[in-house]
């Protein structure tokens, strides 16, 4: 691990009780949900991680505890370093504090995670769905959400499918 990253990880371990793992040259730091905004602003203000490159989530269903990981990929342009923060989110409490106050980029990406995984970001200024239609039910990127397909309508099953087929109204 890079010396500069090593120092940052040590501070996070002492102050935020973070754990970390290293794989394929990347540093993943696990922190608790309530601390995310503080850790992000600490990294941005004191260690020049000025770009939040990516914000996404992974679903580990059927595992419940934690069910999701919310992932923040940070980049420091001046030091040319990357660090990944991961927040475990339990199925019982799908809530993470928002990071929009620190990085404006989090606004749309958090909406995307909310839309696709159903994780609520507390204090988000604009909690609407972003990619799916507003009246959509379910969260498509969850592992318990089927990929879905449409059953082909042939002569032998025409009636059966016709009964439950949604047609556009007028």
């Amino acid at each position: 691990m890079d010396n500069r990253l090593d120092k940052i990880v040590q501070v996070l371990r002492e102050q935020a009780g973070a754990t970390f793992e290293e794989s394929r040259g990347e540093v993943h730091v696990f922190i608790n949900p309530p601390q995310i905004a503080d850790v992000l602003s600490f990294l941005r203000d004191q260690h020049e991680f000025s770009l939040l490159s990516a914000l996404t989530a992974v679903d580990y269903w059927p595992q419940e505890n934690p069910r999701f990981h919310v992932i923040y990929q940070l980049t420091s342009l001046t030091q040319n370093l990357s660090i990944q923060l991961r927040i475990p989110v339990n199925a019982a409490q799908l809530k993470v504090p928002t990071a929009t106050g620190v990085f404006a980029m989090a606004n749309w990406r958090e909406r995307e995670v909310m839309d696709m995984f159903g994780i609520e970001f507390e204090g988000h200024p604009d909690p609407r769905r972003i990619l799916m239609p507003p009246d959509w039910e379910g969260h498509p990127l969850r592992k318990d959400y089927p990929l879905g397909y449409e059953e082909p309508q042939f002569t032998f099953n025409f009636e059966e499918i016709d009964v439950r087929k949604p047609y556009a109204k007028e």
């Binding site: 996404t56 990929q73 342009l77 980029m105 990406r109 498509p140």
Partner: protein, 411 residues
């Protein structure tokens, strides 16, 4: 048609985004798109206007959402690659490269030097093709029709090369994990050299039409100012970030595929306006030509695929003579290769910015999670900030300068 009435936009869902004056009817809410020629696809913008001045601009995306990430999770690593061509349809080879680099990082696979050099040549050609489309549509949006036709003429030559190497103009899937699909044909080098020969003069021609054109200067100077701080906070990358004075290019900062051996400049501008973005992209085309020239000059000979048979299918000629090759072929095209339980994030510099792939394996042959950090998505988000206080006509210029691709945004 007599009893047809204009339907008012329900303000409910946008209540917290528009000002009080929109509720009282003092300002007007206007719907732009999703089917509008200057939105470059299916993008809907909800504008709050005071006369012709934009108070608020609320982008509404998702019309082209096709669930590419979900679909990729249901396919093997090799088969999932065809999905990524459809993301950013102006940059399919760049998407292939981003995906393959992530897969190669995940399974720790090496790529032979010839494949690396060819990848660089193809991706830089793709960058030029993408910037040509951008330049053409940028001119078109500012009412310069002829530039559009010239740009597409040259782009067609580049797409001809892609057709020559892969059989497809756009959805190439030519760059594969471990190398390339196959070696380039013998005519490839001459065709690329032909482009190298004509392009510099053609770029001069576009510049002669646009750079000092008073109409263009009037409509772009000091329009859509984007400061360094706002750009970084919004995660804006690529030419937009460099036009705001931040010297950040992943090809320089974190060289992949041997970019460190090539001598090129990263064009930056300090102004951060629409004109600066135009300058940066035009200069980038010239730099890409330099990279192609150097890569072509020292193009090494040798294989274009890794010879690790656990990940790369054996050549067709071996199948008739080697039992082992047949087994590998069968295993790779039915089950696919297995990736370890790990995750990687790898990013490349696409024509629009940082194109990142988060890839997670679960010990099986399918990606457990693929996340595309697509640059247009974050670049578009900043539009609500940089259009404030401008006229509707300027919005068209700003939107054109962002260089959005809706396939890239909606995934």
């Amino acid at each position: 048609m007599a009893d047809y009435q204009l339907e008012e936009i329900p303000v409910g869902p946008y209540r917290h985004l528009v000002s009080e004056r929109a509720i009282s009817g003092e300002t007007m809410l206007l719907n732009m798109g999703p089917q509008h020629p200057s939105t470059h696809g299916v993008l809907r913008l909800l504008l709050e206007l005071d006369g012709e001045v934009i108070i608020n601009c609320i982008p509404d995306i998702g019309y082209l959402h096709t669930g590419i990430e979900k679909n990729m999770e249901a396919k093997t690593f090799i088969k999932a690659e065809v999905m990524c061509d459809r993301l950013d349809y102006m940059n399919p080879l760049g998407n292939n490269l981003a995906y393959c680099l992530a897969v190669e990082k995940l399974v720790e696979l090496d790529v032979p030097p010839r494949a690396q050099a060819l990848r660089v040549i193809l991706v830089e050609l793709q960058r030029i093709a993408s910037h040509l489309v951008w330049l053409g549509t940028f001119g078109l949006d500012l009412a310069a029709m002829s530039v559009f036709l010239y740009c597409f003429r040259e782009r067609e030559r580049i797409l001809d090369i892609f057709e020559m190497v892969s059989g497809q103009r756009m959805m190439t899937t030519y760059i594969r994990p471990g190398g390339l699909w196959r070696d380039v044909p013998v005519e490839f080098e001459a065709a690329v050299r032909k482009i190298m020969q004509i392009m510099p003069a053609r770029i001069d021609e576009y510049e002669a039409l646009l750079t000092k054109n008073p109409l263009l200067l009037d409509r772009t100077t000091k329009i859509g100012l984007l400061s360094k701080e706002i750009a970084l906070s919004y995660g804006v990358t690529g030419p937009m970030l460099r036009a705001s004075g931040v010297d950040w290019d992943l090809r320089k900062a974190r060289p992949y595929m041997g970019y460190e051996q090539y001598d090129f400049r990263v064009p930056t501008r300090e102004e951060g306006d629409t004109l600066a973005r135009y300058y940066v992209r035009v200069q980038e085309m010239r730099e890409s030509l330099k990279i192609i020239e150097q890569a072509l000059a020292k193009l090494p000979m040798g294989p274009v695929q890794s010879n690790n048979r656990k990940f790369v299918p054996p050549p067709r000629s071996e199948l008739g003579t080697s039992m082992e090759a047949l087994i590998h072929h069968f295993k790779l095209w039915t089950e696919g290769f297995v990736a370890p339980r790990a995750s990687v994030y790898s990013a490349v510099e696409s024509p629009r910015g940082e194109l990142g792939v988060y890839l997670e394996g679960d010990g099986g042959p399918k990606p457990y999670r693929v996340f595309w950090r697509t640059p247009s998505f974050d670049n578009l988000a900043v539009i609500s900030v940089i259009t404030k206080g401008h006229l509707v006509a300027d919005l068209i210029a700003i939107l054109a300068s962002v260089d959005i691709v809706l396939g890239d945004i909606d995934r």
